[in-house]
Symmetry: C2
């Protein structure tokens, strides 16, 4: 009998997890009331293990490196099952600083990145503008990161969804409320939906909790306080369209700092540009001051953005954790947690999906996931 | 037999025209494929004959004054036929300048307005901030215009639409292509729709061409070049929502100049604020530089806008004419033109609607409409 994987959550994590379980020979059921509507819908999609390096987040670096290496093969395999575009682009990234303090910050960051043995090349601003003529002549510092790529999260998630359906996944449009063990049998679990419907899962099957922030509302599998300390971290994101006469405005991702505020400008294959991103924990909708900051900073870095059509301002809620590391691990034989990817959900999806399969099939996992134990912030215990 | 008014166009002009013809005892048919979707949907809604005074547009002043005086009674009558809100607010307007050059500009404008015998009161910035504490302390000049009021164009247009339907108007969801005379009878006209359907109109009836920019596409009633030289003038408009804890941010309309760029901040009764407006003739969609300018300038004048929720950026096309005056007049016995209201469509709707009825019923019209002859830019002649 074919083993069954029941994946809860249809964002980038859940969808890539579905795909990898199918590759491993599982039958897959995806449960999500509205796939690709959460953090994935608002994400930037940078596959940027180098530019994402941050002070005091050393544990993230090996996760990001490893997942970035898995991406080309994941995309190759996904596109065998769908004709939909992924927006995958490998032109690389330019890291820039806007004022003198930003230049100093960048100089230190470049050293730090090199110390992590990641590839980055300092450029003169003249060299940077030869690579990307749309860059402002007023930038103060630049570096090239050829290995930091990007994809369009909405497109890639749709492609994944299409691929997993094409391979026979069942999609249940509902929300999971509880995952419980069945009293008579410690090896059987029940997944209960909002509608009252139930899935029974035996010990040869596996449940993957990949519902992003929604995972915090799924109970029944632990005693006491919820072990997953997820909180929403909001990010405002803009989309604009470059007039045809100015396309392409840039081919590389432009990211960096303007008066210490992070900014990124991501050119998509369809002529749109995604501009982000703030990180704040106040209000769950686009904030006027944030939209203003993003526009001002993005225009300062790439002045030609002034000529674009303003398409939308949205705000996504990313599942943050106390230490900015995901919750990724097997909490019992047939229950795997894979959420809390915070700002790195797109990049880490490849590793998260592969790891879930390795955990379910008893294969060795990457040592990089050791700090990701889902119970590390828990005062609760597993409900067995 | 009851006379019939066939009103082409369901924006603020067409809808108020429907209403006034009903008041005059006409049966009304409104033809519009999608009412309240054009310039009205994107308008600010300021009923501001004083603040709208501009150099070298003297002919507009009496039109604006007269229409503003008609508004309270129009709103009173409309609300007898509908329970829908109009967003009509009479708290008045503060005119402000942001920098020293703006203060100088405002000082001259105040003198000019007084010379037009309109009411405006210069204030110290301290007085202005006592009236509206959310005003930036950095403003350089202020004046109060108690007689410049506002309504919410989307709400008022919906209320008008509801009222005219309640009074028995027929609504035909289609686009008019031609208005022609019927060969056998010079007094009969035919209005042909996109679907091919036709309305026949006899000499006791009247057709009112109130289709905004769409009027330029309606042919058949003239020989040669189209007499209406309408062009789209785009305006970017933002809407934000003030958090409940900060409501009301302001009660008056705040408008003025920031580094010579016009800005207005219109507080609505529902806690939203409309921010406008640019005036440009380039691209027919929200322009990123314009959104940026509006945000920066509005925040500079009312800093609390930073705390708001960003709702939308839209761009409306207003029907401009070569001299910024509307096309308002009777072009033959049963055909009245009422369009080209440019930036003043909301304010001038009351006068435009009343004038159309006066023209149709042989009453005297205001001398203010003398410069509004629909054929004044025409090289063509009427098709009789």
């Amino acid at each position: 009998m074919t083993a069954h994987a029941l994946v809860i959550g249809g964002g980038i994590i859940g969808l890539s997890t579905c795909f990898e379980f199918q590759d491993a020979g599982f039958e897959v059921t995806l449960i999500d009331p509205d796939p690709i509507s959460g953090a994935t819908h608002h994400a930037g999609g940078m596959l940027a293990p180098t530019a994402e390096v941050q002070y005091q987040q050393q544990a993230l670096v090996p996760l990001m490196k490893e997942s970035a290496q898995l991406y080309p093969d994941l995309i190759r395999r996904v596109t065998q099952y769908t004709d939909l575009p992924t927006g995958y682009r490998t032109e690389g990234t330019l890291l820039i600083g806007a004022d003198r303090a930003d230049a100093q910050h960048l100089t230190e960051l470049i050293d730090y990145i090199k110390a992590e043995e990641l590839d980055i090349e300092a450029l003169t601003t003249r060299q940077a503008r030869q690579l990307e003529p749309a860059l402002s002549p007023r930038i103060t510092k630049a570096a090239a990161i050829d290995g930091d790529h990007q994809l369009d999260p909405r497109l890639f998630a749709r492609a994944l969804f299409d691929a997993v359906l094409a391979r026979g996944a069942q999609h249940v449009r509902d929300t999971v409320t509880t995952v419980t063990t069945i009293a008579e049998s410690a090896t059987h679990q029940a997944v209960t939906l909002n509608s009252g419907a139930q899935f029974e899962v035996d010990s040869s099957d596996v449940i993957i909790l990949a519902a992003g922030l929604g995972a915090a509302k799924i109970t029944g599998w632990f005693e006491g306080e919820h072990p997953l300390q997820l909180r929403p971290v909001y990010g405002d994101v803009l989309r604009v369209r470059v007039p045809e006469s100015l396309q392409p405005l840039t081919t590389r991702v432009i990211r960096g700092f303007v008066e210490d505020r992070p900014i990124y400008v991501i050119p998509r294959a369809d002529g749109t540009v995604t501009i982000g991103a703030t990180s704040r924990e106040d209000q769950p909708h686009p904030r006027t001051s944030a939209i203003h900051d993003l526009l001002r900073d993005a225009i300062r870095v790439v002045p030609g953005l002034e000529e674009t059509e303003f398409l939308e301002a949205t705000c996504g809620a990313r599942p943050g954790t106390p230490d900015d590391l995901p919750y990724l691990g097997q909490v019992r034989r047939s229950l795997i947690v894979s959420t809390g990817y915070f700002r790195h959900g797109i990049l880490l999806a490849a590793l998260g999906a592969r790891t879930a399969v390795q955990l379910a099939t008893g294969q060795q996992t990457s040592p990089a996931i050791a700090p990701c134990d889902p119970f590390r912030h828990a005062t609760s215990t597993l409900n067995v």
